[in-house]
Amino acid sequence: MMNALALRWAFRTMAAAMLSANAGALAMPPAPTNVVATDRPGDGGGAVMLQWTAPAPSEVKEARIERSATAAELKASAPNSAAWISVASAPTLAGEGLGFEITDLPPSAANKSSTDQLVFRVAFLGTDGEMSAFTDSNTVVGVANIFLAKKLGLAVSLVLVCGSVILWILLARAGRSVKIRRIAALDAVDEAIGRATEMGRPVLFVPGIQDMTDIQTVAGVTILGRVAKTAAEYDATLEVPTCRSIVMSACRDTVQAAHFGAGRPETYREANINYITDEQFGYVAYVAGRMVREKPAACFYMGAFYAESLVLAENGNAVGAIQIAGTAEPSQLPFFVAACDYTLIGEEFLAASAYLSGERDQLGSIKGQDLGKLIAVMVILVGCVLATVAAFAPEGASARASAAFQNFLGG
């Protein structure tokens, strides 16, 4: 009798233990708490930050995020479709600190003037695949801010660079000495035009193949003004084939102004400034053919160039012209360096107009540009030091500082 009772007790104990163990294995992960949705500050209204309190990472695998469907989505979808839309899966700890950024908002809510109210809900996925209950957030509206915070770094850089340029213009006006190093390519402009005059051959000026919307074309046209003035003074023939109608019009105005400036308005020939074609290689064929036939003594290539740069420069070289090129297209610079006598590299090209003018204001702006360069060098040095230290201590404060610095600069 005692044995039977003991056996029954032992059986009950074992069964209870097994049930409790089973119940432990199927336990749901804890539901998220403190789920708070806030509009992301400093954006265009298309992002929301979602925060939640996470349990220990060993208890849950990841967070599942859903949002309420907007009225427009419910109207467009089939009847009885879900009122909640899956948005993202995130690491459990992503809701800590600043929170998890959700940028995948519906178009009606991401609109800058939207008043669509959204509710988010978060659930945790346990390590065994069980999902916790969802916890709803407060309602949130994506509000567009007046200033885009991600462009703050650029705005600060712009203020610094423009500020330094304006500062140096004012200093130059006040009489501060402005010394600019000699640029051989620009000093050779007079020599090239003089040679063309002596040889009785034309001067060819190519203002690139882009429209006036490209700053390089604008820079090229301003240099054309100086070249045209010298050509007018020397009574040399200046030819300007253009690739865009508006560029032709701008070049005509510029050359005419240069002839007036030189006191030789009667020598201005509108017919020497022509529109050829918008097509890149059609234009190249015309200019190269003209070079071979007329053999200009001086060729200027100032503007935006692409594959045609070498075709033009090699043809100019073949006819024995003095060639001066300037472009801000880094990929074309080697071709011009190889085939031309002088090349204005990038910023030299953009500073050429100011350099040639010799005006104190404009020379001051070049000095200001140099100050901007100094600031850029300092930013690069700080970035290099931070990134190097962060590489050795990826979890430390330097890593956070490096990330913040990169983020500030738009990286």
Binding site: I169, N274, A285, A338, E347, L350, S365, G368
Partner: protein, 233 residues
């Protein structure tokens, strides 16, 4: 006076406005709107350009100046493409509107316009582009003459990059194990070192200079310091 002052004011106002507009989500798209205006202006100016093209070439033909035959070909081509495009000669009817002749796509290769573009213009363009190979060879021949230390450095660098691009690079140095201390002598490794570190650093320096130059040039134009692009009468 007004011909210079008004354009300068327009340039300054639009320049400042568009720079400021870039930083706000409400105004970021203004630059696209302005670009749309520019395209309208460019379309009108295109008439000016086409008029100039006709005038120059007609004058060449009528005066029988040197190269007048080329001018004649230009004029005939211009007229032909104008007629093909404007009257949509040979276009395939649009399936949505089969009875409306002008609904067809003038750029399809079945149309006269598309055919000329596809089978005459494109090959001519490709031919011009192909000439580049010869120009690269002649320019490289001049640039890589070992006249001084800089030219020798340039020549050596070009040699390494060039040979690493070919099977010759692997043939000559491919036997050096990648995990050995002499791996840096492999041409493919040297090429990566040159293009990804030295060249990239140089290019970035130039690009930063260009960016600063663009800012300074724009500022000179916006502030009205550089007026050389404006007509004087």
């Amino acid at each position: 006076m007004l011909r210079r002052t008004i354009p300068m004011l327009i340039l300054a106002a639009s320049g400042i406005l568009l720079v400021v507009a870039y930083f706000s989500p409400f105004t970021t798209s203004w630059s696209e709107t302005v670009l749309g205006w520019f395209n309208v202006l460019a379309a009108v100016a295109f008439v000016l350009g086409a008029g100039n093209l006709l005038a120059v070439n007609l004058e060449l033909v009528s005066a029988r100046r040197a190269g007048w035959a080329y001018a004649l070909i230009t004029l005939l081509s211009f007229a032909a493409m104008f007629v093909f495009g404007l009257f949509k000669i040979g276009v395939v009817p649009n399936p949505d509107h089969p009875n409306v002749y002008f609904a067809g796509d003038y750029e399809s290769s079945q149309s006269a316009f598309g055919w000329v573009y596809e089978y005459i213009f494109s090959p001519l363009t490709s031919t011009m582009f192909a000439l580049l190979a010869f120009y690269v060879a002649s320019a490289a021949f001049r640039a890589f003459r070992a006249k001084n230390i800089e030219a020798i450095l340039l020549l050596s660098t070009a040699f390494i990059v060039l040979i690493a691009q070919t099977a010759g690079g692997m043939f000559l140095t491919g036997w050096i194990p990648e995990d050995s201390m002499f791996a840096f002598l492999r041409f493919d490794w040297m090429k990566v070192g040159i293009t990804e570190y030295i060249q990239t650093a140089g290019m970035r320096a130039i690009t930063i200079g260009i960016a600063l130059g663009i800012a300074a040039t724009s500022l000179r134009l916006i502030l009205g310091l550089d007026k050389s692009y404006l007509s004087k009468n």
